[in-house]
Symmetry: C2
DNA sequence: GACTAAGTTTCACATAATGGAACCAAACGG
DNA sequence: CCGTTTGGTTCCATTATGTGAAACTTAGTC
């Protein structure tokens, strides 16, 4: 037994390997995985074999590389449809996009990170999957902070401990202390901002989607650029965003949405 | 579930359970899974626990139901980006959509079924993910038949054995014999049709995407309705679709696309 | 307050994962 | 050309891991 943390059982390891392949972003050689994996040769090999048999990985015989398999895409569709807010929120996002004419993001919390599950792009219409499924930092995005602000103490602590606090721009809040102040302000206001904290020139106004019991289900945001508008102007649509968020929450509630951490 | 053969090891079972949850399409109770799973109570229970720990499933304590977890959505993004034609094909599909003004599908083969990986919708712009990741029958869709037509004998045989040949409409080709005739015609022509074989009123013209060695990478189709146009009219865009398919193939080639069965 | 259905835990047991080492096959280099 | 390295696959004794019948604990019912 290697000195591993909470990787329970064989499936844990298998999924770990999956993640490893995913993180590379392109087909990987066996040896690449071997060097970074801590698993012994034979074990890793069998794990890869199994995953390939199962269609979770695709092996390119020509190049000897492994890539994520299509079975994953199929599963993902189901996952997206049944355990994300996206299908429920769709019409509301459409409405918000039309009314504001700006880019809309719908996100959920996933292990301290922001997981984007849907998007409406102002100018270029279609462009999905490519952005749905993307993850981003929680501490320096509008949706991230909006969700963090309404987590209970334990969950917040867990989430904060997972943040990297990398300083993307001069405006990034790069410490737990600064972040907590900001979160308090967001709780008061009911909405948060991204003041070019993640990318220069990109600003947004975000609102959490809360269940009746105050549980954080997700967040919606309206994004724009400093070139086109200002934070003040964006804030004017805060009531509208809140309305949309509330309606999404209500709909989710009636659909008996599973609680997730 | 003895029907499907090689359930290798624990991960095989775990993934099997995942599929089971996915197939329900909505949160499932433990007992529902139990009745249909053939796994004994305790085993299924532990499997579910593990998957939940791993974030592949989300457990709703309030209702005692399991749903697919968000980790899948995250993985899917990577899968879609690295092992599907979609990211490569995107600009070409845009072009095709613009030129034809019709609905465009991009599909790949997955275990004898058609897996849609991207779509451009004529009228309603955004509506993705909802359809990317969807699967459909191969024997009665344009993209499906276009791909089947260019499989080698072994792969074709394997694929055909997986078809249900359900008679969706009066036009459905509901036997291997009929299908094989049609495939020969498609091979000659270089493009195939859907003559309302899957849904009444829906027709399309589809072209396979082939690698230089003749391997089937996927297929593109232009879809419309009998109300709006005719097969003959659709066929006029066949050369255009072929051109697009060829360009996608070329691009995929240069990107050293992994071969997949 | 007995009865049932749904979910969770236990525990003796056997299967199935483990990993060091041997093996094979290309590529390399002298 | 033949020894050597690198990258990948298979063996096999060892034991950790997963197994599932049955016991148990809730939570609902009548």
């Amino acid at each position: 037994m290697g000195a591993e943390g909470h990787v329970d059982g064989t499936v844990g390891k298998a999924l770990d390997v999956l993640d490893m392949v995913a993180s590379h972003g392109r087909p990987v050689r066996f040896s690449d995985l071997l060097t970074q994996s801590a698993y012994p040769k034979a074990t890793l090999y069998r794990l890869l074999q199994t995953l390939t048999n199962q269609g979770m990985l695709a092996f390119d015989a020509g190049q000897g590389t492994y890539a994520l398999g299509v079975r994953l895409v199929r599963l993902a569709h189901a996952a997206w449809a049944q355990s994300s807010l996206a299908p429920i929120a769709r019409p509301y996002l459409d409405e918000l996009a039309e009314k504001t004419g700006e880019t809309i993001h719908l996100a959920q919390m996933d292990l301290g990170q922001v997981l984007y599950v849907d998007k409406r792009n102002a100018s270029k219409p279609v462009e999905m999957f490519s952005s749905a499924g993307k993850v981003g930092p929680a501490y320096c995005t509008g949706v991230g902070k909006a969700m963090l602000a309404f987590l209970d103490e334990a969950a917040l602590q867990a989430a904060i401990s997972r943040q990297s606090f990398h300083r993307f721009t001069p405006h990034t809040l790069d410490s737990p202390t600064l972040l907590k102040q900001e979160l308090a302000a967001i709780r008061d206001r009911g909405h948060g901002f991204d003041r070019e904290e993640h990318e220069p020139g990109i600003i947004c106004c975000a609102v959490p989607i809360l269940s009746r019991q105050g549980r954080v289900l997700g967040a919606v945001s309206v994004t724009s650029t400093t070139a086109r508008t200002s934070l003040g102007a964006l804030e004017e649509s805060a009531p509208l965003i809140k309305d949309i968020a509330a309606r999404i929450a209500a709909e989710a509630e009636s659909w008996r949405f599973p609680e997730q951490t």
